[in-house]
């Protein structure tokens, strides 16, 4: 029996070394050599300072830029507290929160009619860190951004169109707009049209 137990302990230690340490370090090494950008979290730099990740949503609440979905990750888009609301569809408290969110979206974007608010822009994503919004949700914000920044609607509509992420391989997923990418591009436009505003909104870029 003791002999058997020694075998089992040896098996445990050996597999720990292979499956935990060896395997993790192997993938880490491959990442270092072949995919350093992805391995470090797809971080975007501006003036050699990190300003965000191409994969993680950010708190875009200013009316001058494209807003993201509501977030339940910590106090909103906290990259260390991923999580969803977990509200059930018929939870009265949830519906009360939704009423506020929908009414606010309608008020902020007068061009949108009641019954036309895209479902995604008033609901939380699965992790609270999702950075995609539907194409409709992006177009719906164009009127507001145009009147606040003075950028013509046609220019903004074009911006949205050029930044649509279509289905991958033509099949997988649902088309949407990456808000981090979109707002970075928007920052260039605002810089051109209204430099003072640019400095006020994009504090992280100046």
């Amino acid at each position: 029996m003791l002999k058997e137990l020694v075998k089992m302990i040896k098996l445990t230690i050996l597999l720990y070394i292979i499956c935990s340490l060896g395997y993790t370090f192997l993938i880490w090494g491959i990442g270092k050599i072949a995919f350093p950008f992805q391995a470090d979290g797809s971080i975007v730099y501006k003036n050699s300072k990190p300003i965000g990740s191409m994969l993680i949503g950010e708190k875009f609440t200013s009316p001058y830029i494209f807003n993201g979905r509501p977030s339940y990750a910590g106090n909103g888009y906290n990259g260390t507290e991923s999580g969803a609301s977990n509200y059930a569809p018929a939870n009265g408290k949830y519906i009360a929160i939704e009423k506020k969110l929908i009414d606010r979206f309608l008020k902020e974007n007068p061009s949108v009619k009641k019954g036309g608010v895209p479902a995604d822009i008033v609901t939380g994503s699965g992790s609270g860190l999702g950075l995609y919004i539907s194409i409709a949700a992006a177009f719906d914000q164009v009127g507001r951004i145009s009147s606040l920044t003075g950028i013509p609607k046609a220019v903004l509509n074009n911006l949205v169109k050029r930044n649509i992420s279509y289905r991958q391989l033509g099949i997988f997923g649902t088309p949407g707009v990456n808000t981090v990418k979109l707002n970075l591009k928007l920052s260039l436009l605002i810089k051109k049209y209204n430099f003072k505003l640019y400095k006020n909104i994009f504090k992280g870029l100046v």
Binding site: K7, I9, T12, L15, I18, C19, S20, L21, T24, I27, W28, I30, G31, F35, Q38, D40, G41, I43, P50, I51, G52, M54, I56, G57, E58, K59, G79, E81, S82, G83, A84, S85, N86, A88, P89, A90, N91, G92, E98, A119, D120, T123, G124, S125, G126, L129, G130, L131, Y132, I135, A136, A137, S165, R167, L169, I171, F172, G173, T174, G204
Partner: protein, 574 residues
Amino acid sequence: MTYTGVLQILITLAAMVIAAVPLSKYLAHVFNGEHTFLDGIINPAENLTLKFLRVNQNEETGWVTYLKTGLIVNFLMLAAVYFILRFQNFLPFNQMHYPGMPWALDFNTAISFITNTNWQNYSGEQTLSNFSQMSLVFLQFTSAATGLVFAVAFIRGIVRREAKYVGNFYADFIKAIYRLFLPLAIIFAVIMLWQGAPQTFVMQKKIVNMTGVKQKLSMGPVASMVSIENIGTNGGGFYGANAAQPYENPNPFTNALTIFMMGTIPIALFLMYGIMTGNKKHAWTLFAVAMTLLLVCIAVVYSQEAHGNPFLAKLGANISVSKNNPGGNMEGKQEHIGIAQTSLFAAATTAFTTGNVDSAHDSFMPLSGMVLIAEMMLNLIFGGKGVGLLNMLTMVIIAVFIAGLMVGRTPEFLGKKIEAKEVKLATLAMFAHAFIILIPFAIALAIPAGLAGILNPGPHGLSEILYAYTSAVANNGSAFAGLNGNTLFYNISLGLAIFFGRYIPIICQVAIAGSLIKKKSIPESAGTFPAHGFLFYTVVTATILLVGALTFFPALALGPVAEHFAMVKGHLFY
């Protein structure tokens, strides 16, 4: 539901089945000890390992020793990881100085990972050091291998005639890891890395966003964990939100790939069983049973989620699909991944008992939530590593027994007589599963400590608790995450449910193998009930549905069904 939605579901499923066919042949070769194309690389490593362990792989043992060795090895690994988590503050890769895990949470977590459950009462990025996450990866390999080798032992029990020995546990275990899990885990980890999953030892990065908002990002060796958590149908992710966190699942392609990773091996095991028993028609019939159930489940979930939440429509949201607006029930879902992929993911993760989630199951419509719970209650729609096949075969034994009773003959199964002992063990395995779900569920409903964890009021609260125990016992690990499980009561009761839910059925099933292996083969006659074809398919499906419905319907009626009808009437719960 859209045409493209249905198409991407079918393509993902088809890819799994197509890949499962060659994989099943490979696996049959591996466990029959035959030549495979990887021999050149893996044979030397394997021989060295066996030499180091002083194991002679030709020295096979009976089922009792095989089972005992497996269980003790499991226990040793459980203990090792328990101590690593408990004392992670003394171990490396802990830049955030997270304290050791509290004992009750640690008890729950260690049991959860050694049993392939990966129920998580903690949020990974806020609780665990990178070293602890890596130790969980170790269990993700070994727990998957454990389930697989017990299934192999069971198959040998059916195949071998008038024999005693089911195999050598060490050799099978090493083979499962070296020849299946490690190579696949490495390949898929690299793909996930390429697509954007981080792999670093930095735990947190502080940044200032373009708008000047400060943001902290949690990172770590994510790619390596994402890969094995799905290949091993473990499901325990690096982050609290699992595959809903973009770092674990950066885009729709990785979402489909994740589903592919979890489904391919369980399907291949069904087909491997056909090759090893020399009865492919039988295996394909069982495949058809499981696939039918899976398709029905996907259809319900997808149609419910695509239909969306009527309450939001009343408030002014547009829940119907149009060119630029995907609509549907988007609460807790990722926009770019979309309703179709998310529905498939949810139905797959509960079918293949992975438990990884790319959305908040708690926010699903009542009937889709019910389907997810039901899939785990049945626990045989391909199921997890090995155990899904074992559960299916257990149900087949019961089906064959019932069919035998109806015609008044001693039931036979693949040339072996099914007698009182096997039927008793199969029934015990089946009832243990139901009992360990329903009894603690009833207790939790009756005491304040159980009710305290509920987030959503009304019948949905009941569903949250039902989901928790079903997920624990089915070794799934997904959750209606509104339930706060990190309390003394839930840590202990769920931990115990996971433990007994895993090992009691496995012990019964390996015991069936031990009993079958001794039997001699009886030649097929005109009166033999063929174990394939439409009749067999119908009998097995009917047995599964009848047994499942009779056992679990009352609980489901009180939760999701009640909630659905209240919702249709426009009733909100406060």
